[in-house]
Amino acid sequence: MRSRSTARTVIAAFAGVLLAASVAACGNSDTGGGSGDGNDKIVLGFSQVGAESGWRTANTTSIKEAAAAAGIELKFDDAQQKQENQIKAIRNFIQQKVDVIAFSPVVESGWDTVLKEAKDAKIPVILTDRAVDSADKSLYKTFLGSDFVKEGRLAGEWLVEQKKAASGPVNIVELQGTTGSAPANDRKKGFAEAIAANPNLKIVASQSGDFTRAGGKQVMEQFLKANPKIDVLFAHNDDMGLGALEAITAAGKTPGKDITIITVDAVKDGMQALADGKFNFIAECSPLLGPQLMDLAKKVKAGEEVPARIETEETTFTQEQAKEALPNRKY
């Protein structure tokens, strides 16, 4: 306390070292190799949201592998869930004069300025996985990602088909993703639209489980106590569904039989639960968009026109399909 300036220097040094270590640890590995040869390899700058889930990690792996396979030099940045990191990364990419910039926006708004800078530098931008709300659509070339509304709708349509013979009311509980996030809003919307086809299907409770296992479990515990008769659980991702499994078992019910469980994503643990008969249906939200992204990068670099919206190639899984697909799943 007496030597305040010394303390400050020490803070700065420690903070600097630690933060640098953590950033380097999390976001690295592909920025180094192969640059500076001066050949005409396409250079793609990619800024990832973070590493918040197994899904996101698979997404990262897919992009890295696809870049290597396509002979594209990838400059990879991990934004650790922060928009300011992502803006900084994009500005870095502009300074480094990469050929194409791609990124998964952490949030929807606030991108106009930095996208304008990229446009002024004549560097094409591709959005992956998540959209931005910029009014000026010329700021980016295309948006490659999943249609979350469609995922919700596919889940709902499967349920309508399963329950078309039901005479009485079917009570559904819903575990929403992070409140206000695009996948949560859209999956909820798509599911609600689809189940409107059968007035017997009724959502009796809907809460946010924050896309996490712990959240899904805690909310499901209360759902089970507040609602004596639950027939169906719709979880906006596998992880919340996996958490809910434990709550259902602890309540003395059999998941997959007493309560039909529908989720979205199809990550490995989720597919395992589906194959084991604990889940009933998964609408896939594929993170493996690396190859599609590399194709697009080549096309926009060559100056070809690309559609403004491209959907990731996705499917759905029943229990039987999960058993077949499981051995070949990458994530």
Partner: protein
């Protein structure tokens, strides 16, 4: 002996009266909304029901808040506990997931020892920064709060590590004498901390360091050693909480495990009547505060309050808790200003008026 009890009783009643009332009101509101809220039944040989859920889920928060109470009592704060939860859980789960027999008690014991070791090192790091180098606690622990998430993700390689280990699972979900093991562990920790601080001079020394570190040093107390110690204790509590959080879902999520628990813990400490300025602390108040926070979360789910409004609902209740406490503080303060003889407890009150 009775004289001590007589002197403590009204004090305890004062301290915990308002938070306890809030808890009772919340439970009553829930019971009105759903009469079965308090129902507890026996399922598979152990107790099952919403009150049990609240107890079990509040266990990690109680643990973290206990450590936080001691840190805050020395006038410090520990923002890194959430990250420490994630790191310890990740290390334990990583070790178990790599073992040949995940159910072997030896594996789990090694995993816990490794994670505890890491927590001790990181707690010592915090302690050195604050006590030896003299960095402000909020900055010193902010370093690990931010970098710690990175460390946890480094340990898990960004994946969610799923494990299938009976003994480890028991930390979060096991039962002993029909009660959840988690709450018993938290209770044991609370009693242990209480015994160490109230049955020895340690608590008094902690309070004196928080009240005035320089004066304590001049009085012959090694302030630095005490400050160092509380950060290590806080880290150990956080590690234990990290085991519970990850055992609860049998998986380590470097990103979500223990996220924002530091803020909940600080809130629990404040609701419990410990001043952020340091000095006098109340362990019982902290436990009550943690129970209030968990009951609040459970209320949102039990009453099916829409996710869009649940944060507002929580904020309103927390503000209400703080306000309901404030008049009591003001009344005491007024009485003191009118010139009443400052009794032995007066300097402590001076510390307490800060959060109001």
């Amino acid at each position: 002996m009775t004289a001590v009890a007589d002197r403590l009783r009204p004090l305890t009643a004062h301290r915990l009266f308002w938070p306890a009332l809030v808890l009772v009101v919340m439970i009553a509101a829930n019971t009105v909304y759903r009469p079965g809220f308090l129902a507890v039944e026996v399922k598979n040989g152990h107790l099952y029901g919403t009150p049990i859920d609240i107890l079990r889920l509040s266990a990690p928060l109680i643990l973290v808040a206990l450590g936080m109470t001691l840190v805050i009592a020395t006038g410090g704060i520990d923002l890194s506990v959430g990250s420490l939860c994630a790191i310890s859980g990740a290390i334990a789960c990583l070790h178990i997931s790599g073992a040949a027999d995940q159910n072997s008690p030896a594996t789990v014991a090694t995993a816990l020892a490794l994670a505890f070791g890491a927590a001790l090192v990181l707690g010592a790091w915090n302690g050195v920064l604050v006590a030896v180098i003299g960095i402000q606690p909020i900055i010193a622990t902010l370093i690990l709060m931010v970098a710690g998430r990175g460390i946890a993700q480094l340990v898990t390689e960004g994946q969610i590590i799923t494990i299938n280990s009976g003994p480890y699972r028991a930390i979060g979900l096991g039962h002993f004498l029909t009660l959840p093991l988690a709450i018993l562990i938290a209770l044991a920790a609370a009693l242990l901390v209480a015994a160490f601080t109230r049955r020895t001079a340690l608590g008094l020394i902690v309070e004196s360091v928080g009240g005035n570190a320089e004066a304590s040093r001049l009085a012959g107390i090694r302030s630095r050693r005490i400050v160092f110690l509380v950060y290590v204790i806080s880290a150990v509590c956080a590690a234990l909480a990290g085991f519970m959080v990850t055992a609860n879902v049998s998986s380590a999520d470097g990103n979500a495990a223990g996220l924002w628990i530091e803020l909940d813990a600080i809130l629990a400490v404040v609701i419990g009547g410990t001043s952020l300025a340091g000095g006098r602390f109340s362990l019982g108040g902290t436990v009550l505060g943690a129970l209030i926070i968990q009951t609040l979360t459970t209320t949102v789910y039990a009453m099916n309050i829409s996710p869009q409004t649940s944060l507002l609902f929580k904020a309103v209740v927390v503000i209400a808790v703080c306000l309901v406490q404030a008049p009591a503080f003001r009344a005491r303060l007024r009485r003191r200003r009118r010139g009443a003889e400052p009794g032995p407890a007066a300097p402590q009150r001076e510390k307490e008026q800060v959060p109001a």
